[in-house]
């Protein structure tokens, strides 16, 4: 809570100073967003809920300042604080901060470069995933946009080259980034090597995205491709005594997302499919534990439909599936080898939701999830051995932005 107030103070000071600057500088904009959620789960835990009980530990706060100094130069920065149970503690984080320089622009095409901490283009939603108004529901489809490893995928220091090409009434945009992933988080450690003591270091990685929009966005299609390299260094104390990992290891994630969306006046249909090859080297796990160290292909997809059935109202229906090992979708091989629940290896989520916008700056959301499996549940909140396969979740959220 102290951190929350500290963030409030820092962000208010930041926004006030931004507003003062805005009054003096042409081309300065200040924006902010906030959300508060309530989560009730029947079993398992998600973002601060308790099994069979409600939690109100899901909160997002953020503010940004941008300065379009000239048509060719843009400077942007955003601070974010997010609370999500054991997954995120509300600490203020620099979300992005970069300089954007347009190298070339005419009516047909443009080309530019961004240097600094830049948001990672991955699928349709990754770049603005913390802002409730930009999401289709309260939480994004967890198969592709897992909240437990969001900080790893969200943004990274690096250099991005981007461009846009107009063809008739269609447009093609692209971005290629060379980046250094920020990976030293408890969430990622729990996700990749279970809660072992040690830390990750990012290595030079690549991410690229191609987006095509037909006739102003009636159809949108995208391909995101990335190669993330991280190195795990076990803690020196007590590590060998625990008998799990024999040494430092490397993980390479080769990932790709195919995205497709069709927008009509009252309906939007979205589908995304992601495949991530996880290549692990040098961990050398002994005996039966070797299965935890095996290279796997993670498969994730969702189908989503949004219905704007009345002014200010929107309904959501979604089917979302995640398999941590494409060769062992039901987790039985994993379960037989480790004795851990198979449910740890898959998750199939059916979601229905409602959204109401009483004013242009406020949104109220409600959604119900019926989930089979717990592959996207954080190990920081759920002990793998006690994971329940079938569970339900009710989420409520109020969100504001300007």
């Amino acid at each position: 809570m102290i951190q929350f107030f500290r963030f409030l103070y820092v962000s208010l000071a930041w926004l006030l100073s931004g507003a003062v600057v805005a009054a003096q500088l042409e081309g300065v904009q200040v924006h902010a967003f906030a959300s508060q959620g309530g989560i009730l789960t029947s079993q398992n835990q998600f973002a601060g809920s308790t099994p069979g009980g409600a939690g109100f530990d899901a909160r997002e706060l953020g503010g940004n300042v941008s300065w379009q100094a000239t048509p060719d130069w843009l400077v942007s920065g955003q601070l974010v604080s997010r609370r999500a149970g054991a997954m995120d503690n509300g600490a203020v984080r620099l979300d992005y901060a970069f300089v954007d320089h347009s190298l070339f622009e005419n009516e047909q095409r443009n080309l530019g470069v961004r240097v600094g901490k830049v948001k990672n283009p991955y699928g349709f939603y990754n770049m603005t995933r913390d802002v409730a108004h930009t999401r289709a529901g309260i939480i994004l489809p967890q198969s592709i946009y897992q909240d437990q490893i969001r900080n790893f995928f969200l943004a990274a220091p690096g250099v991005s080259l981007y461009g846009n090409e107009e063809r008739g009434v269609d447009s093609l945009s692209w971005q290629v980034s060379v980046l250094h992933p920020e990976v030293n988080s408890a969430n990622l450690t729990a996700y990749i090597v279970d809660p072992q003591s040690g830390h990750f270091n990012g290595r030079t990685s690549m991410l690229s995205q191609l987006l095509w929009e037909q006739d102003g966005g009636k159809w949108r299609a995208g391909l995101s491709l990335g190669q993330f390299d991280v190195h795990f260094q076990p803690a020196t104390t007590d590590f060998f005594g625990m008998g799990s990992f024999a040494g430092a290891g490397d993980v390479k994630l080769n990932t790709g997302v195919l995205s497709l969306e069709h927008n009509r006046e009252d309906w939007s249909y979205t589908a995304e499919y992601a495949s991530t090859r996880q290549i692990r080297n040098n961990f050398n796990l002994p005996g039966a534990l070797a299965i935890m160290d095996k290279d796997t292909t993670i498969e994730a997809y969702y189908l989503q439909s949004l219905w704007r059935f009345a002014p200010r109202w929107q309904a959501l229906a979604r089917y979302d599936a995640l398999y941590l090992d494409k060769q062992d979708r039901n987790g039985m091989i994993f379960s037989a080898a480790t004795g851990l629940p198979a449910a740890q290896r898959y998750a199939r989520d059916v979601t229905v939701g409602l959204r109401y916008e009483p004013t242009p700056t406020w949104s109220l959301f409600a959604e119900i999830h019926h989930v089979n499996g717990g592959a996207w549940l954080s190990k920081l909140e759920n002990t793998p051995a006690t994971l329940t396969s079938a569970w339900d979740m009710l989420l409520l959220q109020a969100a504001w932005h300007f």
Partner: protein, 150 residues
């Protein structure tokens, strides 16, 4: 010249057809409910649909002569804003707002400036070099440049 005699019984029908023809020509030639406007010094009187979409989508930051583009819009719930999106840009209003949000909260762009009324729109567009906006109908004494799609 050979005159064709028209039976009296179908003359009312022909008259009705003539009236409908006049009405339809009148409608086709009517001024659209929304017109794009720009600052009087802007040199491009015609824009392609994609350029108009890029400017209002906040993706094109300068006019061909290098003047910064300044975009003015009415609030989302104004019927004139919805008419502008549908009739001029041929996109749905929610798509335009989604694209602004994607820029604003990823730091890759800025939002347009919102004005509270058509009168303020004309004032802002006429007083801001490089400005572009829209009104229901450009009046003769409005100090702005009407912009058409080509």
């Amino acid at each position: 010249m050979k005159l064709i005699h028209t039976p009296l019984s179908i003359r009312p029908l022909l008259r009705l057809r003539a009236i409908l023809l006049v009405l339809s020509v009148g409608c086709a030639g009517a001024v659209p409910a929304v017109e794009m406007i720009a600052h009087a010094d802007v040199k491009s009187q015609f824009l392609t649909l994609n350029t108009a979409r890029s400017m209002f989508g906040m993706r094109q930051s300068a006019w061909p002569d290098g003047t910064p583009v300044r975009v003015f819009v009415l609030p989302e719930h104004y019927s004139l804003h919805a008419a502008f999106c549908r009739e001029i840009l041929n996109i749905y209003p929610y798509q335009l707002h989604q694209s602004w949000n994607r820029l604003v909260y990823s730091g890759t762009g800025q939002a347009p400036t919102e004005v509270g009324s058509e009168q303020e729109m004309v004032e802002k567009v006429s007083n801001t070099p490089g400005a572009i906006g829209y009104v229901n109908k450009v009046m003769n004494n409005d100090p702005v440049l009407p912009i058409s799609l080509r």
